[in-house]
Structure formats: structure tokens, C-alpha cells
Amino acid sequence: MLGVLSFVLPLALWSAVSYAPFLWHPLVEITDPGDVAYYSKGMRAPADAFAEEVEGMTASGQAPPQGIPANPVYLPAPHEVALALWAAATPAADAREEFRLSSSLWHSIQIIFWAFLISSAIGVPLGILCGSYSAIGRLTEPFVEFFRYLPAPAFGALCVAVLGIYDGPKIAIVVIGTFFQQVLIIAGTTRRADYALLEAAQTLGARNLRLVRNVVVPAVLPDLYNDQRILLGWAWTYLIVAELVGTSSGITFFITQQARYQHFENVYAAIFILGIVGFGSDLLLARLGRWLFPWRRTTA
């Protein structure tokens, strides 16, 4: 119940600022320019400048401009964003592909999917080995620890030089941003495996790799799963960074393009969709986790 309210409250605040004219509204949107030469319909002028013009025009007997209080163009009202979201969900057939929100988003999702898959395919097994065998951990982790402080975007130019200008460098940056954290986090989680279970397994004859495969991994699997959920969230952040590296596709390109044309309702729509996709997939994964690991009652 409070969870719902935590979403309703910000929305109510946003609506109040957008729809109640006495709240904020520092600008005036011109509905009729009157005789003011540089005003045009739809233009937004500062409220005090507008008042001066009205006064000046009235004094000189010319037609005063008319307008309604408005917020800056970068704060669209909820219904405008909702319309933009609706338009994104039902794209016009004639729109250019990269200007459609849905296809931009789909492109980004594909990148994150491949990047996360590549990172996990190496990072998860390596992390488990680091956590299980102290020798491997001591051999690997100092370097990983160092590399993790090298910011992934700094490799942007290098990635473009090596991998070209298409999706390669974007995937590479997300992988670089995710992989090194992943190894350390997975190794740390693996080390927290219940030692009593490992001892019990040893008295039952489990050794070495079989101990890792049959006991260590299943024992920490619910925690590894939660780690992966958190890492996926980070991967999204790195995706936005990666997409700023010389590209003409993906959700970030959509956002920058729409901002350039001052279509802020589309910008907000895109940001909301990012939030919805991220939050939604996390909720879905949490639900899936409860189903996958029924013995773990707190997989929240």
C-alpha cells in the first residue's frame, strides 16, 4: 500500500506543479501575439517581460499580447508525457526507424543482453573459482581490483578504434564496466557459502571441483542470482554511457535527438521507459527468483 503511495506522491507533486497555474509557472505561453513584433503564437516569454509588453502596448493604444501562465519547455505536464508514451507504443508507420522510441529501446536491450551474457559467461565462473580456491583468488583479484578503478567510458575511443563504430564498442564498454565488479562480487558471495554445509559435504565424500559444483554453487546460488540482478542494474547505467560514444542508434541517441528538437515530453517518456524496463525486469527477476529457490524465503 505504501509502495503504491511512494509512486503516487511524486506524481501528485508533478501534476500540481503542471496543472495549478498559481504554482511556479514562471513563463507565459503566448496565445495571441497582439502587436508585439517578436512574439509568436506558442512562444514562451518570462512573466515579468510579458507584463511589461502588455503595459507598453496598452499605453500606446496597440493590441496587447495575450497568453496563459506556463512552465518552461523542459517541464512538460504528465498528460503530454503520457501522450508521448502512447505515441511511442503505437509508432506512426512513416517515422524513420531510429526516431522511434520502441526500436531505439529494443536496440539498447539487445546490446545489454549480449554484453551481460558475455560478461557473465566469464565473470561468474571466474568469480566462483576465486571464491572457492584462495590461490586463484590471490592470483586474480589484485589485478581485477586495480582494473575496476579504470573507468569504462575511458576505453571508449580505444573500443571504437578496435571494434569499429557499430555495436561492438558499446557492448565492450558495458562488458568492461560490468565484468570486473562482477568477478569481485561473485567471489565475495561465494566465500560466504555456509561453511557447515561444506564440512558436512566433505564428511560425505565431496572433494575439490565436485564440492564446488555440488555444494558451493547451489549453496550460494540464490545470492549469486541477487548479485546478478544488481549487476544488471549497473549494466544499464554503463549502457547509457556507452551509447554516448559516437553512435546513431539506441535509446540514448533517441534522448539526445529529442532534446535537441526540444521535444522534452519524448525525453521524459524515454527516461520513464528506461525506468519501467529496469524496475519491471527486476521485479520479474525477483518473482522468478522466489520460484527458482523455494527454500530461500527471503529472495526479495
Binding site: E199, N214, P218, W295
Partner: protein
Amino acid sequence: MSASPDEVRARFDRLKAREPILQVRGLCKTVPAKDGERTILNDVNFTTHRREFLCVVGPSGCGKSTLIRTIAGLEEASGGEILVAGQPVHGPGPDRAMVFQGYTLFPWLTVLGNVMFGLRMADKPKEEAAREARQWLDLVGLEPYADAYPHTLSGGMKQRVAIARALAIQPRILLMDEPFSALDARTRARMQAYLVDIWRKIDVTIVFITHDLDEAVLLADRILVLKTGPGEVVDLMEVPALRPAAGRTLDDPALRATLERLEGFIHAHETVVDDEPVTPVVRLASVAEEVD
């Protein structure tokens, strides 16, 4: 129910004539401490024979857990040796299985999967392992719960699964580290009866750690008494009764006397602890209260 002294003596003569299964010789265990080393176990010697039920008692800190963990191979001895059926112990092995106080069932496996675990580690084919595991579950009366997950079971049932899991690898020795101490009194009594019943049916030697002296007297053939600081053997008492059985009660005057002697041993060594200055503990306790 009380057995005559002659009967008891004859019984222990027969027991000691059986082949020795576990021989502990001059066992020492030291751990690094701030000022050099601390001795946990010092020159521990004893022998248990085939199908014997040995209880180990002693005040807390006497090293009984260390002793059983060293026998299990989970800890390295600092000196002396442990022989199981004549073979020296190096690390855990299938001739010894352990039941822990905290159940330690694998939560991701079903009851059947848990009991199969040791068999699978011994490379038994899946079908054969499942068939054997079901028989062991049947022995502890949990066959109907084969497909349940451990978190759905009560404490007593979990410990029965743990016993089945340990017995399934057919060890020579079943090591039990305070297995029933987490259970309520009624369940504990039932589990003691179960255990004796199972033990009578199969060829296994039990080494059973407990801090509950009643439990030791009710279950054991012989009781190994340890003292603290450092852990040393005080006595290896013979319980003056016939084979441990569900029917044993402390109403038996001979068992009553044994229990009193045991209590004498334990308390004689506990007074040493009582003489130590207690002020720091009191102060810490009052600090803890303030924090709360």
C-alpha cells in the same frame, strides 16, 4: 531392569574382545594464540570397539567438539594418531560419517536428494542410489517425506534425515556432535529412542558428544569424560547396564549412581572455572544492558 554386576562385567568383557574400530593414541591439538600456543587437547587416549556406543562428556571448552572434528578429519591433529579399523586418518573419509548439531541438510535438495548425496559422491548410479536412500529413509521412518524439502520439516525430522544421510554411506563410525541439543525435551527423548533402535539394527560404532549427562547415561555403553584446560581424559566409565535400550531409565539405582559419579567429575572441574575472578564478565554484562 537392573542388571547384575556379573552380567555387566561379562558384557563389557565381550565388548572389549571385539575388534577395535577407533583408536585414539596420544592425540594432541594446539591452536595459535596471542602468546604462542594454546593446548585444546592433551594426550588423549582411548579405544572403541565394534558396535560400541561411546558418549563423550565434559564441561564446555574441554575440546569435545575438537576431538570429534579431528576424528572426522575436518581438523588436523597436532600430535598423536587416530586409527579407524587400523588405518590412520588423513582428512574426511567414507569410513566416518558425521551428524552435526545444526542439521546441515542441503536446502536445495529434497530429503531423498540429501540422503543420496553421499552415495552419488561415491559414484553410485542414480537409480541404485535412490533405491538405497529410500531404504535408509524407511529406517528412520521418513520414506513418505522423500520428496519434501528440508525447510518444510520439523527439527526432529531434519535430524532424522541427517542421520539417514550419514548412515547411507555405510560408515564404520557415526560421529554425532551434540545432535539433539537443539531439540525440545520431548523430541529429544523420542530421538534418543530412535537412535538406539537404529543402532541396534545396523553394524555401526557411535561416538556421541553431549553436554547432557542424563543423555549420556541413557545412551552409552561407555562414557569418555574430559576435563577442561587443557582437554584431557579423566575417565572412561562403563555404564552398569545391558545394551543401551529404549527401556533404560534413570530410576535404575545403578544408573543413578553412575550419573552422580559423572556429575561429581564434571563439577569438580567446573569449580576451577568458578574460582577465577569474575569482575570483567559482570562489568561486560552491565555494559551490554546499557546498550540494550
